[in-house]
Symmetry: C2
Subunit: 240 residues, 2 copies
Amino acid sequence: EAFYGKPVTVADREMVESESDTILANAQTVNVAFLVVGDPFGATTHTDLVIRAKELAIPVETIHNASIMNAIGACGLQLYNFGQTISMVWFTDTWRPDSWYPRVKENRDIGLHTLCLLDIKVKEQSLENMARGRLIYEPPRFMTVNTCLEQMLEIEEKRGENAYGPETLAIGCVRLGTSTQLFVSGTMEQLLDEDFGEPLHSLVLIGKRMHVMEAEMVRGFCPEKYQAKFDEIYKRDYES
Amino acid sequence: EAFYGKPVTVADREMVESESDTILANAQTVNVAFLVVGDPFGATTHTDLVIRAKELAIPVETIHNASIMNAIGACGLQLYNFGQTISMVWFTDTWRPDSWYPRVKENRDIGLHTLCLLDIKVKEQSLENMARGRLIYEPPRFMTVNTCLEQMLEIEEKRGENAYGPETLAIGCVRLGTSTQLFVSGTMEQLLDEDFGEPLHSLVLIGKRMHVMEAEMVRGFCPEKYQAKFDEIYKRDYES
């Protein structure tokens, strides 16, 4: 607040999704700034805020920001060659959603790369605390590249439509945009056991339509122990 | 230069593409910053600079930026529902490239939106001046949404593969991220004659997989005179 010289309210997901009236209150007469991570229009939440503001005749001005949706270009793959982005959530014993699978398949069928954004749980209640109405939150959790790969390979095995497989080339993209940013490329199987360190993690599945210059950059992110396999798969499945 | 407190060299496309050695000269020992519009890794040019820097063992640090590739979310369509981005160049009498057409068709076939980035000519020589080796540059030119639509409809008529048509819904997105930012939605045919004003212009073709909330935002950008048609086409082709 000292930095901005203004009062600051931290808005969690619940507040943004259920209490947008509070955020918009008085915005006809005073300036309200709503700060987000990444670009504000990546998903529907903030679009909804804009629609409500319009209904209340509140003028909205947006200042765009860098986002994983374009910063991912740093992994060496061209943004022009990306298809749909998907989100991966944590599986539970009873809930193993795979609605993202057809989207990955659509991308892969036409040779495009797929950016996978990984689940984040911040201020989540345990089922027990939720049932008892106790506002006790679990510690924040961030999905790793390893968990994402595990879940993806499980679903491929179950559905068997060959959208991708253990030998599909991929890139683990971690802490993107920070000073410890790291890219590691290899097959999905190889990356399963790789230690990527601290969050945030994202994953890219590489489409067959990989340009030579893209391949050169991506191979540069392949650890030596994986390179022979990388070159074999690249030659067999990717080179055109 | 006063603002940065450093000497600044304006790098045109020619310098970036042909004289990267100059840019990288001495970068082992002094700090060189290379500033770009948008995110640096949208296209191959800057990736090439990074590859060359690596070869010379020059450490590279990237600060990402907002880019049309995500700011386009402000048009009301979700970034998750975009397919491949294409670039449209000016047709000439003898050169009417349509290599972008299959990409648009791929997107449209699976219901995805397509962002079309429009040609910019800055510091271009006329053919005559080029032939005579005269370094005289034409005034900068920026493609309008109208020209893009005209060229797209011409190619659809020629190829006839029904990737889109005069009644496909689209959004003209102009001066995105500036204070005069404007979105106008309607059919491709309707937008052909719309006056969008000053550059920069971009265009989005809307895929059939348009969510109700996306449709609500997009309809908000439809001028009253186009609304009846918009609703008719939406009901006929888009609503699922």
